[in-house]
């Protein structure tokens, strides 16, 4: 437990806990709506905000938040109005965000695209006390929305047409969902990196849905897996001297693979037992 004596590790573990707790509660709706990659698109947009923050010596986290939320709202409105497909809108975001980020950072004094690495792949040990305070606030808002409005978000992501016919405020709920997705992306920026954040929103839910029998259970198991891989990933990265983001994602893939394998073996065993029983 030596690592707990370092202040930077205490902050890192707190940030990891917040991300592990929050990301799956958003991811479950994205998976249900087949928008698993939206986190990637918003991460790229946030990168342009980070670059502006570096260029102007302002707080990159807050500027990234403004960019990610703006991008999220634009994406949902484009999708809802059907002006262009969700895929195309996402692609414009992907490439526009990353191109803007690289060009803007090159204009900063001594700036090179290499300066963005910490944001692209995570650099959790550089998390400041102020960052943790902002993350805690954002996570509180995200959890209030995803848990407090869970029935409504479930109804819309499960059957949008039915939700419309029921008079639910579908557009407003969808906008809210993409805004909390953008917040989660920004919160996760230091811990896991903008290029890897989708993994923590999606993989715990992908693993949970293999063993859960209800939506509520999927969220609970997904959050458990999210917290487990985030906290243990940060701890492991401290001892193995590896980047935190990559370590967390590899752990999440590991958990998904183990769950999928165990489930496949159990299903096959049950099927064999069933066919033996019917033969006798």
């Amino acid at each position: 437990m030596e690592f707990l004596s370092y202040e930077f590790m205490q902050r890192a573990l707190l940030a990891a806990l917040l991300v592990g707790l929050t990301a799956p509660t958003v991811g479950v709706y994205l998976v249900q709506r087949r928008l698993a990659l939206i986190g990637d698109g918003l991460g790229h947009v946030a990168l342009a905000g980070v670059a502006i923050g570096v260029l102007t010596s302002q707080a990159p986290v807050l500027i990234a938040l403004v960019f990610a939320v703006g991008g999220a709202l634009a994406l949902e409105l484009i999708r809802a109005r059907g002006r262009t497909s969700g895929d195309v809108a996402l692609a414009i975001m992907f490439y526009g965000g990353i191109a803007g980020g690289v060009v803007i950072i090159s204009q900063a004094p001594g700036g090179t695209p290499g300066n963005l690495n910490a944001f692209l792949f995570g650099a959790i040990t550089t998390t400041t006390g102020a960052d943790v305070a902002i993350f805690a606030l954002l996570c509180g808002v995200v959890l209030m929305v995803t848990l407090g409005l869970s029935r409504y978000l479930f109804a819309v992501s499960n059957d949008e047409e039915y939700a419309l016919a029921s008079g639910l405020p579908v557009l407003r709920l969808n906008l809210l969902l993409v805004v909390v997705t953008a917040m989660t992306v920004v919160v996760s920026m230091r811990v896991i990196g903008l290029l890897l954040i989708s993994a923590l929103m999606i993989l715990p839910i992908a693993a949970a849905q293999l063993i859960a029998s209800s939506f509520r259970q999927t969220v609970a198991i997904g959050v458990g897996i999210g917290v487990l891989v985030s906290v243990s990933g940060v701890t492991l990265s401290f001892y193995a001297d590896t980047p935190s983001g990559g370590t967390i994602v590899l752990l999440a893939i590991g958990v998904f693979s183990v769950v999928a394998l165990v489930r496949a073996v159990l299903t096959a065993a049950l099927r064999r037992r069933g066919s033996t029983a019917s033969a006798t």
Binding site: L149, R151, N158, A165, S166, G167, T218
Partner: protein, 259 residues
């Protein structure tokens, strides 16, 4: 609906539609594939664009109608939900949300309404089961229960009996008969009347984007009654059996047009 043209974007699917459903009626909307049957009910539900004329619900223009808890909807889909497992109760509970102010927790009344709706479609034993593990017919019943959970005054169903097993058709017919007896208004699109025949009080036939018949249920017509548009020759219709794939019963309308 008064003089309504309805469609998607700028493309009109229905034209010059005058159509009214009164409280307590059970109206079957029939017609061949692509005639505009589903668009007719989608216009009422706000899922299709009104390009001309007007659509009102309970005397209120659709665009400013807010009392959606009075209307229940069963969509045409054969399956429920996406990739995440969800139980019968979770899905049916969605049908209660139109009754609630946003973010308010479910009350005992809400929970009772959800359980009663599940019971009405004979799925009480499967309440905690993931809907993905149910048969196609059972999943359709889950969608019906979701609509019933809102205790609607008007229940709109799109092809509720298409592709479902005999048990589901029977359960549906019994449920609708009870609802009609209790004063609920029913509007449903169908290809096959089958078990629904005793339930319906009126038939509307949609053909090529227009209402070509609106009057007594088909069984009466089949016995030679006179429709508002003329005498209908539909001896070849078997109201108690499944209609052919292309709804050849629509020769009925051809006869009406040729009167």
């Amino acid at each position: 609906m008064r003089g309504a043209a309805v469609g998607y974007g700028e493309r009109a699917v229905l034209r010059e539609v005058d159509f009214r459903v009164d409280a307590g009626e059970a109206v079957a909307v029939l017609g061949p594939n692509g005639a505009g049957k589903s668009t007719l009910i989608r216009a009422i539900l706000g899922l299709a664009d009104v390009l001309a004329g007007s659509v009102e619900l309970y005397g209120v223009p659709r665009s400013s109608f807010r009392a959606w808890h009075r209307v229940g909807y069963v969509p045409q889909s054969h399956t429920v939900g996406g990739g995440i497992p969800s139980t019968v109760r979770e899905v049916v509970s969605s049908g209660r949300l139109a009754h609630k102010r946003i973010a308010r927790p479910f009350s005992t009344t809400d929970r009772r309404a959800v359980e009663a709706a599940i019971h009405a479609v004979n799925l009480s034993a499967q309440t905690r089961n993931p809907v993905g593990t149910l048969s196609g017919g059972q999943q359709r019943r889950v969608l019906i229960a979701r609509a019933l959970a809102g205790e609607p005054e008007l229940l709109v169903l799109d092809e509720p009996t298409a592709g479902v097993d005999a048990e589901t058709r029977t359960v549906l017919a019994q449920t609708l008969a009870q609802l009609v007896a209790g004063g609920t208004t029913i509007l449903f699109v169908t290809h096959e009347l089958g078990e629904m025949v005793p339930v319906i009080t009126r038939t509307v036939v949609v053909e090529r984007g227009r209402i070509s018949y609106d009057g007594a249920p088909l069984p009466e017509l089949g016995h030679g009654s006179v429709s508002p548009l003329g005498r209908a020759d539909c001896e070849h219709l078997d109201p108690h059996g499944a209609a052919p794939e292309s709804f050849s019963g629509l020769r009925l309308s051809t006869g009406l047009e040729a009167r």
